[in-house]
Amino acid sequence: MGNEFYPLFYSFHFYLFGLIAVASALLFVTRKSPVAAAMWLVNVMFCLAALYVLLDAQFIGAIQVLVYAGAIMVVFLFVVMLLNLGHPSELSDIRGNAGRLTAGLVGLALLAEVMVLGRAEFPAQLTMAAAESLKAAQRIDGPGGVIGPIAAPMFKQHLLAFELTSMLLLTAIVGAVVIGKKRTPDAR
C-alpha cells in the first residue's frame, strides 16, 4: 500500500527494523532467564525508536531511548539482580498446556482481528494522500522544529493532563518508597 510515496531505502529500513523487532519480541517471550529476556526487550525498544524516527516522530524516538530503554529497563534489570533470580529452579516458569492453549487461542483471535481490519476500507481522510498533504503542512523545518508540533498541543489543549501527570509521578514515587520500605518491628 502506498509504495509510490516511499523510496526503496526507506522501506528497506522500515521492514528491517520491523523484522528485528518481531524476532526480538519472540525471543523475549521465550527466554527463560529474566536477564536475557530484559536484554531482548531492550532490543525491541531500540528497534521501535528507529521506527519512530522513520515515521517522522524524532522526539518520540529520542525519549523512547532515554525513558524506556534507558530508565525503565534499567529499573527492571536492577530488580532482577536485587532479587537474585538466576537460580535454575526459578528458571522454568512457562505455564502448562492449559496456559499454552489459552495463549494460542487468544493469539489466533487477535491475529484474525488483524486480518479483518486489513481488509476493511479506510475512509478518505485516512488515505496516504491525506497523510502526505498533512505532512507537507507540518514540515520539520517549520517554526518550532520537531518538538514544536508536540509541545503546542501538550501545553495548550492538554495542560491539565500534563499537570496531572506530575501528580501521578509524585504519587508513584511516594507509593514505591512506602511499599518497598523494609518494615522493622520497632518502627511501629
Partner: protein, 97 residues
C-alpha cells in the same frame, strides 16, 4: 507505511499477550505489559501521521504512566519477594499474606 506499522503494532501486542498468558515469573509478565504499551505507542505514532501531533502527545503520557507503573509494580514485587521468597505467580494466590 501506515498499514505496515499497524500490523507490526498488532503483532507486538499479540506477542505481549501471549507472554502474559504463558509466563509465571511476575517480572517477565511485567515486561510483557511494557511490550504491549510499546505496541500501542507504535500505532499512536503511525496514526499521528494522519491526525497531527496529538497522537505523539499521547505517547508521552503513556510513557509517563508506564514509568510510574514500573516503579510501583516493581516495589510491590520486591515487597512480595521479601515476604514469600518467590516471584512465581503460582505461589502467590492468597490476598491475605
Amino acid at each position: 507505511m501506515l498499514a505496515e506499522s499497524l500490523a507490526l503494532s498488532a503483532l507486538l501486542f499479540t506477542i505481549g499477550v501471549v507472554g502474559v498468558l504463558t509466563r509465571r515469573n511476575a517480572i517477565i509478565i511485567f515486561m510483557c505489559v511494557e511490550l504491549m504499551l510499546n505496541a500501542v505507542n507504535l500505532s499512536f505514532v503511525a496514526l499521528s501521521q494522519l491526525y497531527g501531533a496529538t497522537g505523539q502527545v499521547f505517547v508521552v503520557f503513556v510513557m509517563t504512566v508506564a514509568a510510574a507503573e514500573a516503579a510501583v509494580g516493581l516495589a510491590i514485587i520486591i515487597a512480595i519477594f521479601r515476604h514469600r521468597q518467590s516471584v512465581n505467580l503460582e505461589d502467590i494466590n492468597l490476598l491475605k499474606g
